[in-house]
Amino acid sequence: MFVLDTITHRLKAGCATMAYPDGPAPALPDRHGGALRVDGAKCADGCTACVPVCPTEAIAREAGKPVALDLGRCLFCGECVAACPSKAIVQTRDHRLAVRRREDLVLGAPGQEELRLAAALDAQMKKLLGRSLRLRQVSAGGCGACEADINVLGTIGWDLGRFGIQYVASPRHADGLIITGPVSKGMELALKKTWDAVPGPKIAIAVGACAISGGPFVGHAETCQGADSVVPIDLYIPGCPPHPLTILDGLLRIIGRLEGKAAGEAPDGKVMAG
């Protein structure tokens, strides 16, 4: 009974794995604004309406300079978008957010209105890791949300294994770390030891506002203000937490698996895979 029932259900359900990245990406929910675009040239003289509404003080505007928004601190709450009178800050609905350098997350100056998306690893590293990337996850003060949406990539809807990417149980088996949380002082030593235990060559990926900058806990003496104070970071994936699609985009981007693929916009309203 049980076996027949299981097989019938499996046949009915079909393949639950999404077509992305060969097909269209699943749509972000309509209230998820996606990446921000900041056009400092549109700011009215002396306007700082967006600055005080930001919960993590991610936005600054010095007199005479264009506004500077740090997506590494951004929680994507959209308060600044609502507060901006001149539509200088808008949401683009783009799920792609991953960058290779911390400064590529700062938006606003001329020519830097949008993110400078991550390029793939160099040829040597790509050859080593491009078809098989094993990552050890370290939560260092993470609230569990980034961890959950890292984990969800392993489920049948996303099936991370088809790209040769896998989360492994030991740093000794890993090619790198995927780090969440602002790095609480309580995890500083453990993170360092875990990083040291990963054999080289290795990479480190920071997922979420906390791991990039401290996020909501920026300035707290109990944290290290992000992972790059302890480990050199090769990929930053912003969000609170980043959507699984954003994390997947970052992982595929760094191993060069998105080269030659379209941006992958989907028609709105398509139901997401879990």
Binding site: M1, F2, D5, T6, P29, R31, H32, P52, C54, P55, T56, E57, L75, F76, C77, G78, V138, S139, A140, G141, G142, C143, G144, A145, E147, A148, N151, V152, G154, T155, I156, G157, Y167, A169, S170, G181, S184, K185, G186, M187, L189, A190, K192, C210, G215, P216, F217, V218, G219, H220, A221, E222, T223, C240, P241, H243, P244, V271, M272, G274
Partner: protein, 514 residues
């Protein structure tokens, strides 16, 4: 005798002027609270408050010592007790005292054991006679100040240390097992790795980052903690959120419960190598998270709840979409659960593993599904209804046995009942706005808010100063009550059963560490 005799009665989601909270010399407070606890009281919170000093307040960036939250001057102790059967809370406080010791409440009632360690850690006040006084979450340098671990002596005894970095994609914590062969004699759980200084930062608040910190206090309980926080501010402002916002919060809270419970059933199935349910639930959990995203754009409900109401509405068209998708996902969950309960191999692994007996669960003050799986009928939504739960409730889900099977069964019951609750509620929305401007918080007041998060009772207590800012803000995540339950569940169990026991509780590390 009135159960709230002595202590001042207070309803959930209300506030009381600080001056009206009855006070006793600390030794008498301990006796009064112990007495209340023997009359079926439950300790929701027990914490210290530093007496105001003349010096200037420090900003949260300046380091550990800060008036109100930690320090070495005179302090008061504050108790919040719940009388579940009588739907009442009660509060009391000690007179200020500067002595280094007071008689431990823990000796009279075990529910206080972690709370008293916490007070000792934060204020240096020793609960005299406490049997296991050591740090709770404080960091020493670049690792937690764990202190000495309990050791079992004997030639056959060996010790197993696990963590802080675990094999799975989960939060860090340290588990120290004392084993005789495969059998666990004792498990000690050492946390603190996730400590981010949330309570300390709240002093003098609310600050700009406070709402975001509440939403990430325990990331999978975003709605639970955010609702408790918003409720505290609303009761301090002498108002409540618009009805429609309360309705939205109740819907979001059940969506959170659905996602987490479904994920837990999948994780339990995975741990006993039962892959059909494990695979299916991994996906269905994400489907439920996406319903939260449908409501507010974020899979974890961030950005929805704000003091004074909610930021996003569930318009009729959106509600229709949500109901349709909910039905599909509930049907999928039912199929996945049916496989699980039908499999003899699963039952054999779940039954009689990790028992927490009702007396034990009551003695340590367990809450949430873990307590209900030990036969305790306690659920904030039912016992202390606030917000929308005054008008609509799901039946309390209880199972007996206290084992892994019972904890899984309670989750499945709650999935079904949350599903039914959502069907009914989404179909009958109240009219009106979703957010009001909030008046300033009342000065010198104590506010208490309990919310039944998916793990159990989320308790927020705020004490305001003369300017209506937070003088002290105490958060008690359900995990704070329940980690001891996991340690008890492991007694005399095979160490190889630790993973399914741990998953059957699935407690929060960051919610504990704050």
């Amino acid at each position: 005798m009135n159960a709230a005799d002595n202590l001042a009665p207070i309803a959930n989601a209300t506030s009381i002027p600080w001056a009206e909270v009855p006070e006793w010399p600390v030794a008498d407070l301990v006796r009064v609270v112990a007495d209340a606890l023997t009359r079926n009281g439950r300790l929701c919170s027990w914490f210290g408050v530093a007496e105001p000093t003349a010096g200037p307040a420090l900003s949260h960036a300046e380091g550990p010592a800060l008036s109100g939250v930690e320090g070495e001057g005179a302090i008061r102790l504050v108790a919040v007790v719940a009388f579940d059967a009588e739907n009442t809370l009660a509060v009391g406080r000690s007179l200020p005292f500067s002595e280094e010791k007071y008689p431990a409440l823990t000796l009279l009632n075990h529910q206080a054991h972690l709370f008293e360690r916490e007070v000792w850690e934060q204020f240096g006040v020793e609960p005299e006679g406490h049997p296991w006084l050591k740090p709770v979450r404080r960091t020493a340098g670049n690792a937690p100040a764990n202190g000495e671990f309990f050791r079992v002596d004997g030639g056959e005894i060996h010790e197993v240390a696990v963590g802080p970095v675990h094999a799975g994609v989960i939060e860090p914590g340290h588990f120290r097992f004392q084993c005789a062969g495969e059998e666990v004699i004792h498990l000690e759980i050492a946390l603190g790795y996730q400590h981010r200084g949330i309570e300390r930062a709240l002093a003098g608040g609310p600050h700009r980052a406070t709402m975001a910190q509440m939403e990430t206090a325990s990331g999978d309980t975003t709605i639970g903690h955010a609702t408790a926080y918003a409720t505290v501010l609303e009761s301090l402002a002498g108002t409540e959120a618009p009805l429609r916002a309360q309705w939205l919060r109740a819907i979001a809270l059940e969506l959170e419960r659905l996602a987490c419970h479904t994920g837990d059933l999948g994780a339990l199935a995975g741990d006993v190598a039962f892959l059909p349910t494990s695979s299916a639930c991994g996906k269905i959990r994400g489907d439920f998270l996406n319903l939260s995203a449908l409501l507010c754009g974020n899979r974890f409900g961030r950005g929805l709840v704000r003091p004074g109401g909610c930021r996003h509405d569930l318009e009729p068209e959106r509600a229709k979409t949500m109901l349709a998708r909910l039905e599909t996902h509930l049907a999928d969950a039912e199929q996945a659960a049916t496989w699980l309960w039908d499999a003899a191999s699963v039952r054999a692994r779940f039954e009689n593993v990790g028992c927490v007996y009702p007396q034990q669960a009551a003695a340590i003050g367990m809450v949430g599904p873990a307590a209900r799986a030990s036969g305790l009928v306690r659920d904030v939504r039912y016992d202390h209804p606030a917000g929308w739960h005054r008008f609509a409730q799901a039946p309390v889900a209880v199972w007996s046995g206290g084992d892994v099977l019972a904890r899984a069964r309670v989750r499945w019951l709650e999935i079904q009942r949350s599903g039914q609750f959502l069907r009914e509620q989404i179909a009958t929305p109240p009219e009106g706005g979703i957010r009001d401007e909030l008046a300033p918080a009342a000065p010198d007041s104590l506010a208490v808010a309990l919310v039944e998060g998916w793990r159990g009772e989320v308790c927020h207590v705020a004490l305001t100063d003369a300017a209506g800012r937070f003088r002290r803000y105490k958060i008690t995540d359900p995990s704070f009550h329940n980690w001891t339950g996991l340690a008890l569940a492991l007694r005399n169990q095979a160490i190889s059963d630790f993973p399914i026991n741990n998953k059957s509780f699935n407690l929060s590390y960051c919610g504990f560490d704050l």
